[in-house]
């Protein structure tokens, strides 16, 4: 029966490739990237064999604990567990509970993340290649550790299902979870400065982690290498007990949820007319009101600009670390382009709800202009602030006109480019209601091409104003700065209008084709 479930998972994976070759390409790219990381990490572990045993032990325990913790937490908020084999679909089959659980658990290894984790944790054995006994223990501990990862992921998602099943929790948690990831770079950079103190407490942390479910299996080979047989045996028993407990708890939760399926969560707060009462009662105003409502209510939109408030922090970290505060001046242009880019996948986000636009025969120009308007409501003030504040605080008000010109050019011409792009190029995005950070398998290739091209065009369009800024810096003539402002605003305005018109015309001509394209992305 377990073999049946594994074969089923394999067949489902194969069929999904057959449905869309792009998916295969995406999985291959993702898999190769992951494999590269794993090879890199395993090569690193191999080097540990020559290092001090205690150090190797510390590093391995900490790394494995981090990976295991990741498996326990990340599926909760971001990607969810791979539900190709959704336990709920097996309710009507007579499969014994342990067999179903075993099958579901092992099926996690059929798939890119599970397989890579297995390889990564199994790769620990290279660190212990000088000691055959520890090497064997590392192999067994690696496999057991990988099982622990999958089991913990299942346990946390199943037991938190009632909470994570609520729309609001997922909406909020998904976005909050990404913030530390984005700030990881600066955090590590700052932490690295205090490297001595880290080296001081890391061994103690590892010693504790070695007795928790997170690191117990990773600590096993170290015991054997040090000749601490008793401790090793105790740890093995402890680890197996942890694994058994996690599996038992998951299996119980699984059956509880299968016997009492979740009632659909209803009962959102009543809402008024919101933005529909504010914008003018025209097709254009209606599109703007709808789009603005989505910016506020649909986490996929919020996720696409979650980097915006973090960007100042990131750049501030970088600029203080590198001792060059002038770096803050790029904030305005950068945020302008980023926010304009946010509407370049608008029709993809609509998914088949876009049919309402097709059926009502709203003109393409109104559709385009409404979406730009909604985004501009917050993007324009933010861009202005990001362009004005850094030069003022840095005492470089001489550069203010040029920076302002480049920023507005980035925002306005970016809107124009995005209006054209989203009228023609759709790609698979998370569907309405899905986690905003879920990447549809295989969306990668097409999405990357479209996004890179859009970004590249937006950047190239900045060159005239940018050139004038360079001229000002070189010649110290304020005139060039004012020219940059004029050129930036005029160029941006022209491209904005042209982009909306062209995008609108394309939309009018190709609305049915666009409709079929978003329908195919389901």
């Amino acid at each position: 029966m377990v073999a049946h479930l594994l074969r089923l998972k394999l067949a489902l994976l194969r069929n999904s490739f057959r449905r869309s070759p792009w998916q295969l390409v995406g999985v291959c790219i993702g898999g190769l990237y992951g494999l590269g990381m794993v090879v890199f990490a395993v090569a690193g572990t191999a080097l540990l064999a020559d290092a001090d045993t205690a150090l190797a032990n510390t590093i391995l325990i900490c790394a494995v604990s981090l990976i295991t913790l990741g498996w326990a937490i990340v599926p909760l908020v971001a990607f969810g567990v791979d539900l190709t084999l959704d336990p709920a679909r097996f309710t009507t089959f007579t499969i014994s509970r342990p067999k179903l659980a075993t099958g579901l658990l092992l099926s996690g290894f059929i798939g890119v993340p599970g397989l890579l984790t297995l390889l990564l944790l199994g790769g620990q054995l290279l660190a212990w290649r000088r000691d055959p006994l520890a090497l064997l223990a590392a192999l067994a501990g690696g496999v057991a550790g990988a099982l622990m990862c999958l089991a913990l992921a299942r346990l946390t998602t199943t037991s938190m299902a009632r909470l994570t099943g609520s729309r609001r929790f997922r909406d909020v948690a998904g976005i909050i979870a990404i913030i530390p990831l984005i700030l990881l770079g600066p955090i590590i950079g700052t932490a690295a400065e205090g490297i001595e103190s880290v080296l001081d407490w890391l061994p103690r942390l590892a010693a504790v982690l070695g007795f928790t479910p997170l690191g117990v299996f990773a600590a096993l080979p170290g015991d054997l290498a040090a000749g601490a047989w008793g401790l090793g045996a105790a740890r093995l028993v402890l680890g197996l007990a942890y694994l058994g407990a996690v599996l038992w708890a998951w299996e119980r939760g699984l059956h509880k949820s299968m016997e009492n399926p979740l009632a659909p969560h209803t009962g959102s707060k009543p809402v008024g007319m919101g933005a529909f009462g504010i914008f003018p009662a025209t097709p254009r105003g209606a599109v703007a009101a709808r789009a603005l409502t989505y910016w506020l209510k649909d986490p996929r939109y919020a996720a696409s600009i979650v980097v915006v408030p973090l960007m100042p922090v990131l750049i501030w970290f970088t600029s203080t670390n590198s001792g060059n505060p002038q770096l803050m001046l790029v904030l305005g242009p950068l945020l302008g382009i980023l926010m304009a880019f946010a509407i370049s996948a608008d029709v993809s986000y609509d998914s088949t709800a876009f049919s309402l636009h097709v059926l009502t025969g709203v003109r393409g120009v109104d559709d385009r202009a409404g979406r730009v308007l909604a985004c501009a409501v917050f993007a324009l003030p933010v861009t202005l602030l990001a362009a004005i504040l850094p030069p003022v605080f840095l005492g470089r008000t001489d550069l203010l006109p040029a920076i302002l010109g480049i920023s507005l050019c980035g925002l306005l011409s970016g809107f124009g480019v995005a209006s054209v792009a989203s009228a023609r190029f759709t790609y698979a995005v998370p569907l309405p209601g899905e986690s905003p950070f879920k990447t549809p398998p295989g969306a990668g290739a097409r999405m990357a091409v479209v996004q890179l091209a859009t970004f590249a065009i937006m950047s190239v369009l900045l060159l005239p104003a940018l050139g004038l800024l360079v001229a000002q810096v070189l010649t110290h003539h304020a005139l060039f700065g004012w020219l940059a402002l004029a050129v930036g605003v005029v160029e941006g305005a022209v491209l904005l209008v042209a982009g909306i018109r062209l995008g609108g015309r394309w939309l009018d001509a190709r609305a049915p084709e666009l409709m079929q394209a978003v329908a195919a992305n389901r």
Binding site: R167, S268, M273, A353, L356, P432, Q516
Partner: protein, 259 residues
Amino acid sequence: MSNSTAEPGTPALSIRSLGKRFGDKVAVNGISLDVPAGSFFGLVGPNGAGKTTTLSMATGLLRPDAGQAWLAGIDVWAEPLKAKAAMGVLADGVRLFDRLSGRQLVTYSGLLRGMDRDTVAERTEDLLRVLDLQDAGAKLVVDYSAGMTKKIALATALIHSPRVLVLDEPFEAVDPVSAANIREILADYVAHGGTVIVSSHVMDLVQRMCSHVAVIAEGNLLAAGTVDAVRGGVSLEERFVQLVGGRGNSEGLSWLHTS
């Protein structure tokens, strides 16, 4: 809104040799059909017969490979905006903007069609009332049940008082009371000069509700005309099975007999 000057006798919907293929599969194989103005027209056919594809091509959602469609005399693919103004469509299998409340969604549909705010507000309340969605009007559509979602989608198709209503599976997942309400609204609409085209699997419903019917299977039109003419004395369901064929032989499963 419905002030186009079609001559009397112009069919509400007229399609000629409409065809569509997806890859190797012919979904619709050159269908020609006239829907008389003022009729309650049922489009029936087994799963995958091409009903949704045909209706999508007639309503401007899917560009046909061949053939033409006229809505109240307006060429749907030559003058799409004019044609779309004259019809209200409930498409099957598409999402709604479900992060809006029901009231916002219906308002959105009206405003997109260029109607003024007061008319939209008045009609939205009327629609919510007759569809029994008044209490749910302030809730997000994403939290609606399947039947409520169907009803709110119907409201978005009705708001501009179209001359022709094209409804793909309007009764699916709708509870019996609401279904009866919807039937009453549609019958009233037809009695006052409108035309309704519905697709359905439920023969019984079509026989009771519709004045005309067309049978589609495997992308071909098998029969069309008044319900009485098509069924020819037997029930529509029997006639449908005769036309479409493919009734399996249930005697084959003798092991299923438990006694």
